[in-house]
Symmetry: C2
Subunit: 356 residues, 2 copies
Amino acid sequence: MPSLEVTPTTGIAPEVEQARFLRACRNLPVDRTPIWIMRQAGRYLPEYRALREHYDLLQICEHPELAAEVSLQPLRRFDLDAAILFSDIMIPLRPIGVDLQIVENVGPVIARPIRDAAAVAALRPLEPEADVPYVLQTIRLMRQELGSKTPLIGFAGGPFTLASYLVEGKPSRDFAQTKGLMYTQPETWHALMARLAQVVTRFLQAQVAAGVQAVQLFDSWVGALSPRDYREYVQPYSAAIFQAISTVPTIHFGTDTATLLQEMYQAGGDVIGLDWRIDLDRARQQLGPSAAVQGNLDPTLLLAPGEVWVRQAREILALNGDRPGHIFNLGHGIRPDTPPDAVARLVDTVHGWEGT
Amino acid sequence: MPSLEVTPTTGIAPEVEQARFLRACRNLPVDRTPIWIMRQAGRYLPEYRALREHYDLLQICEHPELAAEVSLQPLRRFDLDAAILFSDIMIPLRPIGVDLQIVENVGPVIARPIRDAAAVAALRPLEPEADVPYVLQTIRLMRQELGSKTPLIGFAGGPFTLASYLVEGKPSRDFAQTKGLMYTQPETWHALMARLAQVVTRFLQAQVAAGVQAVQLFDSWVGALSPRDYREYVQPYSAAIFQAISTVPTIHFGTDTATLLQEMYQAGGDVIGLDWRIDLDRARQQLGPSAAVQGNLDPTLLLAPGEVWVRQAREILALNGDRPGHIFNLGHGIRPDTPPDAVARLVDTVHGWEGT
């Protein structure tokens, strides 16, 4: 097995460790509530769309100079408290044997969906340095650009969410094929989840070694499950991933997860991501004082005039009150039709908040 | 305004009032947990599919003999505790001026989506006896068939869910157009909701007058909203509907509503419908002892072998324990690919449950 190529930027510089975002991840007091935005590098920015006229999504992900450039675009415009690697949750799946396309306005499409034990057995382990060197190189480039000022977040898809794309073969509303495999071939399901947990663990460990200072697990669709199914079919695998990441703060995110928050926190994550469906104070009450939280403005609000959502953003800040451990974010990724000025105003609103 | 044509079957016969389903709606003790299934009349039944070879969905809804026949099909096969009118939540919208098609495998499609005040103003009030006489006639036919043994449930779409179809023009995942109207044209939104609440109220009142013995409000997509948006943009209109229905038990249903249950119960409903995302005991704890609940097995489970889901159905029954006020149901409509034998086994499981 190849050793990780460790660069001088690896590890957390003392200065950046005091950054608001990382202090909030660790549930420590901060001067201002930190904010970053899921999909902050992306289609709502004209400079990103300009680049996309020449390159498709996977081409950008696979070229470190392009991926780093795209990741840095929002930081040039806005006073965001963290950068996030530009990549896609499906990136580590192609090298392990998945015939995958990212189809514009559709999402990930798999030529041969995984529906049986043989298909699971055919997936090979991920060797990040050999399989996704461009991701690690992007991280190294970004660390050089960001210096010790702005923390860099790495990420991976959560095991249920990755499995759902692999089993459905395309984005789904009801996850019937995924649940069908889970219920009717539980051994195949558990084998698939164990493999994906290993892929994700290695991928995140390599990102940490390359220099990210926090990681987020995007188990975006896990809220499709009942709490009992989450506990039986997903929780052990998410727990295995978080247990393997010990040197940087971790964020555990999903949508529709209001009834899974405690289970997700038990699985792991210093910070629990919240969509907009739950009042922030209620989530904190459920999670207890040791958990930090991230969220949770409805992304659709940013399409409306500022007077509508500035009030709501302040309500969210007020619901947190003076508790440490709140990172402001949207409840899901920013929409491509969002005016960039809305992001500037949201960052100002959050940083300017002085309490109720 | 025409008076309601009251038939001899109007009102609740004393015998049927003692039916398990209606007792459970009223939070009274029952000998066995009652069960009915959302979309119990529908595509999973071969006899329904046979009829659909000759008639489309709207044709069936508009012909009382066909609609009554379809409603009764599941009762001939299974020992269900309630019948439900066969209809569609979009039915009362065509006569008020909405150019609507139900497109197979897509859902409701509106030729001219409602996006401004003029479009709202163009909607006219519903006169149920003149506009949807076939629905009321179906109810009368069914009451004759069912006699005093099996209660008959009427229903309507909830105001948010109806508005979402009208504004989006087609089924949506993120309800961006709907929320966009809500946030950017609040007066238009409130006018639309007030009109829809009036349509739904009149429609449900007419169903009650024609003989249904309970009604369910399907606000299926309201879980897309944050609790604060629900309170501001939806709750007053749902409350107005429930306040106008006083003579029969009411059921208030949505999906993704784990964080809205208390708000929905405040708006109204003797029974709160639960999808599978929340453990039933947790929902009851939130709602308090006066609310009955309905649910909440994941419909996808019925595609799996019985040994997988019989255990889960019993867990749900055990979570309720010996509390009155539990109506067993799926967490959403039954899937068209469900084997009918699964329904027979589920009914047996629920009726046969003797406690833990």
